[in-house]
Each structure stands twice: as C-alpha cells, then as structure tokens.
C-alpha cells in the first residue's frame, strides 16, 4: 500500500481533500437519505388511506382495469398532454399513470396520477411526485438542480470513492502497533476520535462502498438508458427506417392484451409509450419483472409494435442495465422489510459520525498547525505557566 513516506503523504493528502470536498454534500445526502429509507412507512402515514389498503396485485395480465379509460380520464383534465408510462406499484394495488406536456418533458413537468389497480378508479391521494418525500428525493438525487445536479452528485460520489480508497491506504500506518478497533481513550480527545474515525470507517466500509457505487450508478441512469437505446434497440429501429412517426398508436388495453396472450405469466412493471425515454419511436416498451426475489428487481423489455399491436421481441437486460436496476434496492435499503431499513438507518447514522469525526480531525489538525506557526505574542510570553 503506502510503502514510502512520500506516497503516504500523497495518499493522506488525497484522503483529506477528497473527503473535505464532499463532506458537506454527503452530510446532506445522509440526512435526506434517512427519511427516504422509510418512504413507504411515511407514505402510509401521511397519504390518503386508499393508497395503502389491500395487497399488491400479482401484476398478471388477468383482472386488469380499463387502462384506456384511465388514460382518457387523465387527459380530459389536461388537453394536449401525452401519456408516458403506466407503472404498477410493487406493494399496493395501485397503477400510476405518468402524463406530460410532451413525450420528452423534463421530470419536473410530469404529473403522476394514482389509480386503483382493481377498479381503475382515480384515487384522490396526492401524486407521488409532490409533497415532502418527493422534495427530499429530488434534493437527494439532484440537489433540486435537475440533470446537472445529478451529474454533480456523480462527481461527489467519485470523490467519496477516492476518499474511501485512500482511507484504506492511510489506515495501515496508524494501526501498525494497535489491535483492530482499538480506541485509546486515555490519550487526547484528538487521538480518541482518530481511533473512532478509523474504527467506524473500517466497520462500515463494505456498506459505504455498496451505497456509494450504487449511488454513482443511479446518477448515471440517464446516460445508461440512452446507451441501451442506442445499442440494444438500434437493430429494431433500423427495421423501421423510412417510416414516419406513429400517429395513432394502438391502445394501452391492446398492448396489455397482447402481453396477456403471448406471455400469460409475465409480471408487468410498467408500460412505456412509443417515442418516450424508455422506448423506440415505433414500439411500446413493456417492462417485465421476474418472479424471484433477485429478478423482481430487474426487468426484461417486451417490445410491442405501436401500429400492429403485436409483440416484436423480448430483450434480456444487458449487465449494465441489471447493475442499474439492482442499484436501486442496494442504495435505499428497502428490499428486506423493516429490520433492514432500521439497520440501514443505523449505518447511515454511522456514516454521519464518520463524516463528523473527519471534519473534527481536520479542524483540530489545522488549529494545531496554526498555533505552531503563530509567533509568540508578548502577551503569551508573560503569561503565567
């Protein structure tokens, strides 16, 4: 690792300054992330009761409500708007319809309208992209700055990854004569907190690494999706070369019926309209999630021709898309019931402690250096010892 004093100094410098550069943002991410871990529980307490009643449907094609009627009722209130997605809720009998002024609208422009997945009735619950939790998610994922903020957070994530790696490197020289997890409580406060910082850093390293990497991947969701469309979907788009945009795509009910006919056991996660962010100009993209705990977090894309309503192809997700899908549970810790969420929150608090002790160590080191370099004042010279 850091074999010479010079390389140790470089790694130590990297650790200090990469950490300092991202500490403020990471504190914000840790603090906003804390309530987001419990977003389902907070939603259940704060939103209209319809949203939490009943079990989620099995998302099998049977017993679907009239999707077209849902779309019509939503667009009646917003003339000229377009449907973008129909999203089936994982845990509750809900279907969220996403509409926007155009298919290429920004995230902030869209409206998410909840419907009962059994009856198709519009629910009076507030849309899930409004309210305190939506604000916190926006702050956590983009600093309220849109895509620019998201990419900035990718940079912060990379800086923190560098901070973790350099922290591991500079850890060894401190521990040459100490047992793992030693806290020298009889020494100065600074030494005690240095040991505490080292111990918390090492114990939480695995969790921090996973949350940091998954966070970086999530900030790159847009470019990853674009790359997938330009590579995996390119062949399918080529087959439609010369054909204009689809003026009158088949209905959502027809797409749903086609999936019911061809893939009767499929679990539909969402349907994306043609020419939107997740589909080609000529296809509906129906995202199918797996039925095992692992595959339920990933999707396969079933492409349905927007003119004929026929299933064209089912695409397996490439590795980078699977990694992106798995990053969601691995970042938010909401995939193994309440105990894991509580554990996640405690790790989050430990991360806040790590950041706080890091700041304290830098501050005390700086103060010590300043004291050393200051010339002795006349006052100090005559001060009693």
């Amino acid at each position: 690792m850091a074999s010479s004093p010079r390389s140790l100094r470089i790694w130590s410098w990297l650790h200090t300054w990469s950490g300092l550069a991202c500490t403020g943002f990471l504190l914000l991410l840790c603090l906003t992330g804390l309530p987001l871990i419990f977003h389902q529980e907070i939603d259940a307490l704060t939103r209209a009761p319809q949203r939490t009643q009943g079990q989620a449907l099995e998302h099998r094609a049977a017993n679907a409500p009239d999707l077209d009627a849902m779309v019509r009722s939503a667009l009646d209130t917003r003339p000229g708007w377009k449907p973008m997605f129909l999203l089936w809720d994982d845990e509750r009998p809900l279907i969220n319809l996403v509409i926007a002024p155009s298919l290429h609208a920004q995230e902030s422009e869209v409206q998410i309208l909840p419907f009962d997945a059994r009856s198709g009735a519009r629910l009076t619950a507030p849309p899930s992209n409004e309210g305190v939790m939506a604000f916190l998610l926006d702050l956590h994922s983009s600093l309220l700055l849109g895509p620019l903020g998201t990419y900035f957070l990718a940079l912060i994530g990379l800086l923190f990854a560098l901070c973790l790696v350099s922290g591991v490197v500079v850890y060894a020289p401190f521990m040459r004569h100490l047992a793992f997890g030693s806290i020298r409580k009889r020494r100065s406060a600074r030494i005690k907190w240095l040991d505490g910082h080292n111990m918390v850093g090492m114990v939480t390293l695995g969790w921090l690494g996973v949350v940091t990497l998954s966070g970086i991947l999530l900030t790159l969701a847009g470019p990853i999706q674009t790359y997938w469309k330009q590579t995996e979907l390119a062949d399918m788009v080529r087959a439609y070369k010369g054909q204009g945009a689809v003026e009158q795509p088949v209905s959502a009910n027809a797409v749903h019926a086609e999936i019911r006919r061809t893939l009767p056991d499929a679990r539909i996660a969402f349907i994306a309209w043609p020419d939107g962010p997740a589909s080609t100009a000529h296809h509906f993209m129906v995202a199918l999630s797996g039925d095992t705990p692992l595959t339920s977090h990933t999707i396969e894309a079933a492409l349905v021709d927007a003119r004929s309503g026929r299933l064209t192809r089912v695409l397996q997700s490439p590795w980078y898309l699977k990694a992106l899908f798995l990053s969601i549970p691995l970042h938010f810790g909401d995939y193994a019931s309440l105990p894991l969420k509580i554990i996640w929150a405690l790790f989050d608090l430990a991360a806040i402690l790590l950041l706080g002790t890091g700041l304290y160590l830098w501050g005390t080191k700086r103060a010590r250096r300043t004291r050393r370099t200051l010339p002795a004042t006349p006052h100090a010279r005559i001060a009693p010892t």
Binding site: Y171, A172, H177, G181, M202, G206, V210, P293, L340, I343
Partner: protein, 64 residues
Amino acid sequence: MTQKKPAKARRSGWQIYRPALALGGLSLLGLGLALLGDGLYDLASWVILGATLASMPYFWNRPS
C-alpha cells in the same frame, strides 16, 4: 538502571487488514443475502448486518 518498555509488535499488512476484510465481506454477504431470497435469507441478512453494526459499540466500549 531504568526498565525498558517492551516494544510493541509491528503488525503486517495482512494482520492489519484481515479484520476489516472480514467485516467488509460480512457486510457484502448480508446485503447480498437479502437480495437473493426472502424469509430465512432476510433473517440471515438482518443478523449479519446487525452483528456488523453491533461491533462498533463493542469496539468503542472495549477497555483500551
């Protein structure tokens, strides 16, 4: 004659990083198990990650 303090043994890189690697591996195992299955997998994940977390107050309270 002054009594010389016994020199503390210098630990190798492997000795230094071994516990950290074990804890990191346990964390990854705990995170992965909950993804792989429900029921017992979840339970194992809670126990492993909970034990990793509990090691922090243990180390903090251990006599120095």
